[in-house]
Assembly symmetry: C2
Homo-oligomer: 204 residues x 2
Amino acid sequence: MSGPRIYLIDDQASIRHALGEMLSVFGFDVQTFESADRFLEIADTAAPGCIVADVKMPGTDGIELVGELARRKLSLPVVLISGHADVPMAVAAIKSGADDFIEKPVDDVELVAAINRAQARIFADEDRRRAQEGLSQRLERLTAREVEIFDLVVQGYTSHAISEKLAISIRTVESHRAQIMEKMQAESVAVLVRQAIRLGRISP
Amino acid sequence: MSGPRIYLIDDQASIRHALGEMLSVFGFDVQTFESADRFLEIADTAAPGCIVADVKMPGTDGIELVGELARRKLSLPVVLISGHADVPMAVAAIKSGADDFIEKPVDDVELVAAINRAQARIFADEDRRRAQEGLSQRLERLTAREVEIFDLVVQGYTSHAISEKLAISIRTVESHRAQIMEKMQAESVAVLVRQAIRLGRISP
DNA sequence: AACGACCTCCGTAGATCTACGGCCTTGGCG
DNA sequence: CGCCAAGGCCGTAGATCTACGGAGGTCGTT
């Protein structure tokens, strides 16, 4: 029960039970949902894990689920399964960002293998997300004014240019800069710029 | 004949002829190859265009072709077509990086639509490649010493720190910095850092 | 030998950044 | 109301960077 977390989503109770049982035996910590919408309600606070979802479901279908996760910037790996699979559907699924696409009847070994492949992505994503989160928290501790100046600094504006743009004194800009460097724990502008890029405030 | 370029690869002469004829009518500038290997011989010098290839071919198959193009860092879009397509094959094709995967018998409208979607990628890739190339050219015009200092600057080192690290005068470092900013056409350290990231010299 | 490219060093003046302390306003709290 | 913390503002002083010019030495090429 304490193994890797699996979010199993299928509208058919029989499938939920069968696959859930199988994955539990393989040591996964399975949590089941009867629809993608139910899962999405708790998705934002969900622990890292791999999603196994049916494609054809009432409400949000499996492919739309992948898109919605991307929209929310939740990078949980998704393995889609489908009973009436055809080639165009498989193509659409992978192109939308699903990690794998498996036909029913599901071969146990095949599914577990797919999950394990997807698992590798979790760790990489988690590390990145954790670093990202620390960064975001630091950014949130900046005041509105500081954020404003942060953006201008990382775009390459000098303190002088910023002071003119905001119609305030250069000293004021500089004291804000000092605060920014302090709060963001950046010892140089170069580091600050990289943080801004990771935060998506400027493009590389 | 002067429309978008298409590289049509299929081992069956009849398909080459039929699809080639069709695409020509649609205004594409079609060039045909009887095998992926034949195409790969000229791939490095190929003009930008979209590849339309069969999956199942003697020698390098369609999916391997995509991998080989990626390995050579050639970002030509690829539309794969297949007669005996199944879901796993389609999944493998898209996951390997193909832009689309279409089943035979090929629907003309469908293929043209796929090509046009892939076409959009050409322009984006070309723009990026062009910008990247300009940047690389500028970097190559830096002397070895300048590159060394460039790396230290974008990592956040001050001129003073650099002078100590390299055991040279601060003035020397500063004159190198001036040269670097000049040659890289960067008006601020922030811009220089972003260039360094695009050049892959530092991670975001 | 003459040349150009490169690396090195230097000084000065002005722009820019950093560090430290002080003033003022706003908004919550006893 | 008085108090206080937080945010915004500003000044002085010292460190750092930029810009402009000048100069000597090495190395490979012509």
